[in-house]
Symmetry: C2
């Protein structure tokens, strides 16, 4: 999202030495780069130094440098002649707990060369990150987890390279954005103390690591940038998201929301950034109801209910027969049921408004969304009162977090010029639905902007713009992290937000429930 970029690959043409200018080869290159990069600290990787005298002369002092930068020092990690013209690539990694996304880009022009994604192989140890962290307390557990993710990356690097027709040794830089636990497991760092009071990660700012130190099979002098975190519960994926959103460069104040089991929120502008994270509950990931699942073929991602006819119009991914529902589908379902009067403002099913869909089992009410004869599995797809209660708590937590952080900085949500929603959730959710249930504030719809995979987007920026890497540290330093105090004020807000859309409907003027 930046307009002008300095690339990590630059061409350099040096003045050849003479009796009047007998600076050494390395110092000649370094001196030139100091000026070109406007930095006093430029170093050469030892392998570059070893090859330098011949390489300069063979190429008539016209060379191409691959650079990296850490702690204010630039380093030349590879060098070729300008005429060689081999593609030089970087690898952006969104290192998710469940899913890993890779994007290979050209370091020269920033173009995307190939993309792929795969399930995090650590799922074999445990689906949730806590199980994995506990696994590191067993003998060899940390090494095993690191090997799983590195091996998975290496396998998919090979396939990316085959697809883009370049060699693995042509990948020089890798940028990795993930949550704090995932980046620790990736780096082989002990996460033991992250989950124990006072919740201390081994590192906040990992900086650059050499690819061979991690076993990552790219260029042997390749460097790996791992995005910094703010703490155990605010990871580099969020810093990447801020970088990608440009939140930190806006004149007006905006907000960035990443919704998952944790809701992570950053509010700010070019002068300040305020962040917080809180448990929003698994409901928003579609993880509560038996029919909940991650987005995939046959998963319901959108539902419309005609309030008059009560007919359900279902959309599934790839138009397959429905087999489950994802987070955004669940929010659509709840919103449409609420607007059609099928649930009340407390989130309770209204049996009389549900036509024949309302059932009971063991004294608990539930609603049949898809009867077994229309589902992909042959089983009824249902949503129960307990599921709705869970969703209600999650959406209330989300809204309370948003209200708390904006209030803390002395603003209202109406003051926010843009509302970035990150991730798959942001891409699939219909803001109107989220507003209808009172999960997101009742702002004009065009203030809501899906960011897509902002973690991958930020990692990509780090590979295509040297300025972006400087900004990473600036962002990290500028963020004030606010611990969410679950105090009486928070609980009051939470209680008020447990209504659909809110105890104070005047805050949601656009939400109109069908009147029968």
């Amino acid at each position: 999202m930046q307009s002008t970029h300095k690339r990590w690959v630059i061409d350099v043409t040096l003045t050849p030495p003479s009796l009047g200018d007998n600076t050494g080869d390395a110092d000649r290159l370094v001196g030139h780069l100091r000026k070109q990069l406007d930095s006093p600290n430029v170093a050469l990787d030892r392998a570059v130094l070893l090859s330098l005298p011949s390489l300069l002369r063979e190429n008539h002092y016209r060379v191409r440098c691959v650079l990296c930068k850490d702690l204010g020092t630039w380093e030349v990690i590879a060098l070729t002649g300008q005429a060689e013209d081999v593609p030089m690539a970087g690898l952006a990694v969104d290192l998710g707990t469940s899913r890993v996304v890779l994007r290979m880009v050209s370091l020269e022009d920033g173009q995307t060369l190939a993309e792929t994604a795969f399930d995090n192989p650590q799922l074999s140890v445990g689906a949730d990150i806590l199980t994995r962290i506990h696994h590191t307390d067993t003998t060899g557990g940390l090494a095993h987890l690191q090997e799983l993710i590195i091996a998975g990356l290496n396998r998919h690097i090979i396939s990316l390279c085959r697809h883009a027709d370049i060699g693995q040794q042509q990948i020089f830089l890798t940028a990795v954005a993930g949550n704090t636990a995932m980046t620790h497991l990736f780096l082989g760092l002990n996460p033991h103390w992250m989950i124990r009071e006072p919740y201390i990660p081994a590192v906040n700012r990992p900086g650059l690591t050499r690819a061979p130190d991690l076993g990552l099979e790219i260029h042997p002098r390749g460097r790996v940038l791992v995005f910094p975190n703010i703490g155990s519960y605010f990871g580099g994926d969020l810093i990447a998201g801020i970088l990608y959103s440009d939140l930190h460069r806006r004149e007006d104040t905006a907000i960035l929301v990443d919704v998952g089991t944790n809701a992570e929120v950053v509010l700010g502008n070019q002068n300040w950034l305020m962040a917080c994270a809180g448990a929003a509950g698994p409901a928003l990931e579609g993880g509560v109801t038996k029919m909940g699942m991650m987005a995939g073929p046959g998963v319901i991602d959108r539902i419309d209910i005609n309030p008059e006819t009560r007919l359900f119009q279902i959309h599934t991914i790839d138009d397959q027969e429905p087999i489950g529902i994802c987070g955004s589908g669940l929010i659509d379902l709840a919103a449409q049921m609420f607007l059609a009067g099928m649930i009340d403002m407390r989130g309770r099913l209204v049996p009389g408004q549900c036509d024949g869909r309302y059932k009971e089992k063991d004294g608990m009410g539930y609603l049949v969304v898809i009867p077994g004869d229309q589902s992909g599995s042959g089983m009824d797809l249902t949503i129960g009162q307990a599921d709705l209660d869970s969703l209600t708590r999650s959406k209330a937590a989300m809204f309370t977090i948003l209200e708390t952080i904006t209030t803390t900085v002395g603003m209202t949500m109406e003051d926010l010029s843009a509302f970035y929603v990150a991730g798959t959730f942001g891409s699939f959710i219909r803001p109107t639905s989220a507003i209808s249930i009172g999960m997101l504030p009742d702002l004009e719809i065009d203030r809501y902007q899906p960011l897509g995979n902002s973690s991958l987007g930020g990692a990509t920026l780090a590979l295509t713009s040297t300025a972006a890497v400087d900004e990473i540290d600036t962002i990290r330093e500028r963020i004030t992290y606010m611990e969410l105090n679950v105090n009486q004020e928070f609980m009051n807000r939470f209680s008020a937000a447990k209504f659909f859309p809110h105890t104070d409907p005047s805050r949601f003027p656009s939400v109109k429930v069908w009147e029968t």
Copy 2:
């Protein structure tokens, strides 16, 4: 020679983390060091990072750090608990073409733990550096030369460690001072272009190298500082010499002279430094005459001739029977012969004044210094007219270089408050003798100060004072290197200096020839 030192090993006591201060382990240590070192750029070696979380907690946040620094960035390369109390050592290396001297020092208190010296194993390829550089053009030649010096160092590191009763892994830092060619061979850098116009070394400022990259068997994360050079003909040994002499911190102007096959001269004070190097000829190393040799047992290092009786009083190293003469002995011999009237002011043997010692062979005169029946070899030790002519040219070159550099900065040699003479030559030479033949200017004797092994001394300082390492770059940047133009003015000076002591004896008022 510096009074206050910051050491490379420092103890750090961190405030343990708490809920109100949940900075990561690495960032907690880095943050503390940033303040303690007053530097924004502090990094941790990856191995340190990996061990950090456990190590901090086991040692109750009281740790000892081994640091290094390059390009403004400090790095923690090793970490232990404060209670462990293992000695931490550094290794200073004077990397001479002929001789290598090692000194092991404590990084904690700067004390010398052990010293040793050995002949440069590259002598097996060639005694002079040019032969070795040509050898690098053969297949595997460069690798062979590097292996020779590294293997030699490793052998002697083992013996030093045995002597000091410490493990090789307890050596964390190495500082290497040598001429530009030797440091290239040590680093495995191609010196091919150093000896070809326009005489370009691969690198001027090698900075830090990791010990394993060189095959140096110290701590696996040990770092090697190679002193920077100014060019192919002004090496890191001289920069180390300046550092050791404190020339760069003096208020008044002084001069530092290192005499060998090349004479290297630095003139300056705290504001500026001017350097030049020129061929002084091998005579000053005792390398011309058949009886010339390096200092060692049985080598004549001092001669007195009673001008009245013409009796030779000979001193040899270790009082062994004489077998040869070293550079300082040769200068003594020439000076004493001149003062006794045995050679004239053109440096010609005066047969009538040499008693029975004058002989001729093939029409060339020579003088028997030690008859065969008194020598260790049973052979006459002699000095011929050709040897004397060579010495005359060498001493004239030396004096001309000194005169040229002082004149260039608008001074006279009398303006120099101190005259540092480096190396073995400086330790053994009698300034009166060098003045008598007009090699050095006729200054008060107490202005002459032998520096000893200033190359080793400078390397030692780099290990015992962090400030000294900063000064290395400052010195290098402050030096103006003057190319010696062998123009008419230079030749005029050279011709005048080819007399004993000079065509203008009034410049050497203290030199009185015995009048018969």
